[in-house]
């Protein structure tokens, strides 16, 4: 053990060795979303052709954030990226290159200043007053914008023309229009409910329009009272009114593509999205579909121009590097990326606006004409992405996710929404001054949980001692003799497995546990937090407790379904019933798919309008009506038309069938393997005694496979506690507080909030709970074995 630890530490101290090479290889991981990676890979290839001394290693992935974050935490910095990191802190720590000197230099073509090739204002988002370096009074620029999406309301022009509707300019006109649409039997709007954060675009637009740039900045900087301000409440009321009254049926169960599809299928007149819409829906827009885009409305007493657009740009950041040649090459790559030819190419490929002047109306398809016009006309833009100036604001993002969910489902009023966010902001303000601050909200529950775990641990230790005493008295299970040679043999047999396991599972895990006692944002200095993270989780965090409750649900409910079903199947197959072999093969199919695939299948299956679940249920209802079945049941079945299965308030019940679908085969094979070990003579004897097969099952099979039943129970309990992937994927990676599990909570805390200490503390608690729970199950069943 100690030697393994030594090797491990040695390796850690040894660190990475970088190799020198004539050819510079740039390492640029990029986030791939709606626009795809193709354009960027093509750009990297072309750049390498133009500059043979530079090899651009650019790779995109939809989950690149997790990877870059891990690399940064391990001290392995890329050359540049657009992955979501805690940039304000990185800038503060001097890790990000100030691009201002380069921007004042020539552009790629060499016929102008680089800075002037960008659209006005887009460089301000990551501009900061110059810090230490002499930069001629100019402010430093850290982020380089490229794709430049605009939030708009897309509408069906043909439909509008037919009814004589015109795009509204104010919110009052907007709501009048919605009511007119409803009178005409048209559903006004679709919005994704699985990704509710799309709704923020409405909130932001309305809020910005009322408070202006300064008020909006104050809001983002956690100013006291910004969230209880009547103007913020008014903006929230707009979102609430739209969400509770004017959305298409089943919106809560729609992903963003499903919501957009509902619009294209003519199930509503408008949809809210950003400029990536046309690219995402490419090939699915009917040829004769006239796509219109309008700016989000304003208030008649709003203080900003009605032409102000809400933009959401992708920004690239270049990391500072001692190697100037390398750094220059990285900057050159971005100069090439923003060259006229490349910009036009992107605008055409993605059919989406770019933050550079080179792209104009002529580069977009006819579907983007309205967006292009909005951009031409715009008197200014404000950026939709929240300014993450501190870790506190990342935490606030979770508070927003929770409150937004309740607002949009009509559970709370706009005033309550504001009050909740204000309360969260207040707590974070206090914590900024006093990092160890914890609000006592769950004292009773915290003490109960701690005493429960402590009690179980004591019982585990005590009962084990009792067992070993008992074992000595009665002889117990006779231990094998461990002579000198056997000893060596045993060590030789366990050694390789244990070594490998310790090196690649146990020690990395334990190393991470150490962070639970610190406050750490992943790259800066760790500060000692003592038990502060645990105190925060157990005493203050609401999410921790709801997540734990959800885990309990997943620990108890699915196993109660899965175990009996799997056991029944196994018994059936064991008895060689008709088609037993087919069962054995088929039931394991879902296991073969993997979490991502399974989640995607069920997302498609549960889709309110085009999924097969609702189609099958309503079809069954129709059948019943035709055959004259009971009307109540038929009516109930037909009510599933457009039902939002994945809406967050009953997400977990919709997960149970998926769970059964995925887990049943696994347990079935386990049970079957165990049943094969039961001697056939026992059944034959029972048969002679006239015992029925049911009786045989309960008196022979069950007791003899108990060991495996226990193992499978442990696996299911552990699985319930560890549940992560399914919930994560079914909630578009942004679960509201009510649907978090400890696993998603940990990953969210780690990768979205950058609170490494807290994430580690969650992991430690999870680990402790799983260990206690599984040992208790094992111990409890073993005692039974001794007693019977």
């Amino acid at each position: 053990m100690r030697s393994i630890l030594g090797i491990f530490l040695g390796l850690v101290l040894f660190g990475a060795v970088s190799r020198a090479d004539d050819r510079v290889t740039l390492d640029i991981p990029v986030l791939v979303a709606g626009y795809g990676a193709e354009f960027f890979e093509e750009t990297a290839k072309e750049f390498s052709l133009l500059r043979p001394d530079v090899q651009v290693h650019l790779y995109g992935d939809p989950r690149i954030n997790d990877k870059v974050r891990t690399r940064v935490m391990a001290g392995d910095w890329p050359d540049a990226t657009d992955a979501v990191l805690l940039y304000p802190r990185l800038i503060e720590a001097g890790r990000i290159l100030d691009l201002a000197p380069y921007l004042d230099g020539p552009n790629w073509e060499g016929d102008g200043r680089w800075r002037d090739t960008f659209r006005p204002g887009v460089l301000d988002r990551w501009a900061q007053p110059a810090t230490n370096e002499a930069s001629g009074g100019n402010s430093a620029v850290y982020g380089l914008p490229f794709a430049h999406a605009i939030w708009t309301i897309f509408y069906d022009k043909t439909l509008f023309r037919r009814h004589g509707w015109i795009p509204p300019r104010t919110w009052d006109e907007f709501f009048t229009l919605c009511e007119a649409m409803e009178r005409a039997g048209v559903v006004p709007l679709s919005l994704p409910g699985v990704t509710m954060r799309y709704g923020d675009a409405i909130l932001r637009a309305a809020h910005y329009n009322l408070v202006g740039a300064e008020g909006y900045a104050a809001y983002q900087n956690l100013s006291p009272g910004a969230r209880t301000d009547p103007r913020f409440v008014r903006a929230a009321e707009v979102l609430r009114r739209i969400a509770t009254r004017h959305l298409v049926r089943g919106w809560q169960g729609m992903t963003h593509t499903a919501a957009q599809q509902a619009f294209l299928d003519g199930r509503c007149a408008m949809t809210l999205s950003a400029s990536w819409f046309a690219n995402e829906m490419r090939g699915r827009l009917p040829a004769d579909f006239e796509l219109g885009a309008m700016n989000l409305p304003v208030f008649s007493d709003g203080i900003t121009s009605a032409d102000t657009v809400q933009s959401q740009s992708g920004y690239y950041f270049v990391f500072r590097n001692e190697d100037t040649k390398r750094q220059q090459a990285t900057v050159d790559f971005f100069r090439f990326l923003t060259s006229r030819e490349r910009v036009k190419r992107f605008a055409r490929m993605a059919d989406a606006p770019v933050a550079l002047r080179a792209a104009g109306a002529g580069d977009y398809s006819s579907r983007m004409m309205d967006t292009a016009a909005l951009l031409e006309r715009s008197s200014g833009a404000f950026d939709a992405a929240p300014a993450r100036t501190s870790a506190a604001q990342a935490t606030l993002a979770q508070a927003l996710t929770n409150a937004r969910y309740e607002l949009m489902t009509g559970r709370i009023t706009a005033e309550e929404f504001g009050a909740r966010l204000e309360a969260a902001a207040t707590t974070e303000r206090i914590r900024l001054a006093q990092p160890g601050y914890v609000e006592n909200r769950h004292t009773g529950k915290a003490i109960f949980l701690i005493s429960l775990v402590a009690g179980l641990s004591v019982w585990l230790i005590w009962s084990r001692r009792k067992d070993s005493v008992k074992g000595k008295e009665t002889g117990g299970r006779e231990p094998e003799h461990l002579g000198e040679s056997t000893h060596r043999f045993a060590l030789g047999f366990v050694g390789p497995a244990l070594g490998l396991y310790a090196a690649f599972v146990l020690l990395p895990g334990l190393a991470a546990f150490g962070w639970a006692l610190t406050r750490w944002d992943g790259f800066g200095e760790k500060t000692w937090a003592g038990l502060g993270n645990f105190r925060w989780l157990l005493w203050e965090s609401d999410v921790f407790w709801t997540a734990l409750a959800n885990n309990l649900f997943l620990m108890l409910v699915p196993p109660l379904v899965v175990v009996p079903v799997a056991l029944g199947m196994a018994a059936f197959i064991q008895r060689g019933g008709r088609g037993a072999n087919v069962f054995r093969v088929v039931l394991l199919f879902p296991n073969l798919l993997g979490g991502i695939a399974a989640a995607l299948i069920w997302l498609a299956a549960y889709e309110p309008a085009s999924g097969f679940v609702n189609a099958a249920l309503t079809g069954l209802g129709d059948c019943m009506v035709r055959l004259g079945g009971p009307e109540q049941i038929a009516g109930w079945l037909k009510s599933f038309s457009g039902h939002a299965w994945l809406a967050q308030d009953h997400l977990y019940w919709s997960i149970v069938p998926i769970y059964l679908w995925m887990a049943c085969g696994f347990n079935l094979v386990l049970y079957l393997a165990a049943m094969q070990g039961v001697p056939t003579e026992l059944y034959e004897a029972a048969e002679l005694d006239g015992a029925s097969t049911t009786r045989q099952f309960f008196t022979i099979t069950l007791p003899l496979i108990r060991e495996v039943l226990v193992i499978s129970a442990v696996f299911l309990v552990v699985g319930g506690l560890n549940a992560f992937e399914l919930v994560w994927l079914l909630t578009a990676q942004d679960p509201a507080a009510g649907v978090h599990t400890l696993g998603t909570f940990m990953v969210g805390t780690l990768f979205t909030e950058f609170q490494v200490g807290r994430a580690a503390a969650i992991a430690v608690l999870l680990f402790g709970l799983v260990l206690t729970a599984s040992l208790t199950v094992l111990r409890a069943t073993r005692r039974e074995a001794v007693e019977t």
Binding site: E480, F589, F612, A673, A674, V708
Partner: protein, 284 residues
């Protein structure tokens, strides 16, 4: 055993229930399989209807093959999965044998350590692991991925196999020793073959788990020029792209292509499982 199959009303009902259940398990996959031959418009408009055989749309397969780069990744997947499963079986069986049959002060502790491994938070432990692999020069290599998969598969193997070894009668072991086998000989020649059903169970699950594993593969071999990428990375890319484009035809085609090889392997191993049953019966 088959001769005992007496057909009664209750077992008839059971059969119907099981049949219904079977249909429910099977349907989503059948749905995926036949929908992969429909174009997008047809998938959305008529989710349930079978494809129109007159105008089968197989272009989803072409798009999926291209998008997910299956051709490049399939060999890596085969290699990584095969070596990892083999290592897990050998090392896991050795450890499980000793832990289940020899009592020692530390054996329980070691067993518990393996149990604890099932709950190590992969995302968090990834940071030190990444550090370690980089220091060892194992990043973006198949070897690195194999070592991590093996280490992660061992707890499951130890659990299952320990149960099997515990159930084997002591007399067999004693007989082997009396016949002049060494400890290791008794294990390799007598005990291990008897644990065959358990080995097959472990092999099937590890094969499935590793074949479709995404997170470690993404972190360890996900680099662009890393020629060590595995199929799930391609599939994940495909899945997300399909989701953004709403291209279900391509997604379904990709799912079929990734799942089919596992199905074949599983069906082959299934035969082995049946022979394992016979071995178990002889033992009993």
């Amino acid at each position: 055993m088959k001769t005992r199959g007496r057909i009664t009303v209750s077992s008839g009902l059971l059969g119907v229930a099981l049949g219904g259940y079977l249909a429910w398990v099977l349907f989503p996959m059948v749905w995926v399989a036949y929908s992969s031959f429909k174009d997008d418009v047809a998938i959305r408009a008529e989710p349930l209807s079978p494809p129109d055989w007159a105008k089968i749309d197989g272009t989803g397969y072409v798009r999926a093959w291209h998008e997910a780069r299956f051709g490049d990744y399939v060999l890596n997947s085969v290699l990584v999965t095969a070596v990892s499963v083999a290592l897990i079986l050998v090392l896991g069986a050795m450890a499980a044998y000793v832990l289940s049959r020899f009592h020692h002060r530390l054996s329980r502790l070691v067993y518990t350590l393996f149990l604890a491994g099932l709950t190590m938070p992969a995302q968090l432990a990834m940071v030190p692991l990444f550090f370690e692999l980089r220091a060892l020069g194992l990043l973006d290599t198949r070897a690195g991925l194999i070592l991590v998969y093996t280490a992660n598969g061992l707890p499951f193997a130890v659990f299952i196999l320990a149960g099997f070894f515990r159930s084997l009668p002591r007399s067999l072991y004693e007989a082997a020793i009396i016949d002049g086998c060494s400890e290791a000989g008794a294990f390799w020649r007598v005990m291990l073959p008897l644990a065959r059903p358990g080995l097959i169970t472990v092999a099937i699950f590890q094969f499935i788990g590793i074949w479709k594993e995404y997170f470690y593969a993404f972190m360890i071999v996900g680099g662009a020029d890393g020629g060590a990428r595995t199929l799930p990375l391609g599939l994940a890319n495909l899945a997300i792209t399909a989701q953004y484009r709403g291209d279900y035809g391509m997604l379904f085609a990709g799912l079929v292509m990734v799942t089919l090889p596992i199905l074949v392997v599983y069906l082959l191993l299934q035969r082995q499982l049946v022979s394992g049953i016979t071995a178990g019966a002889v033992k009993g």
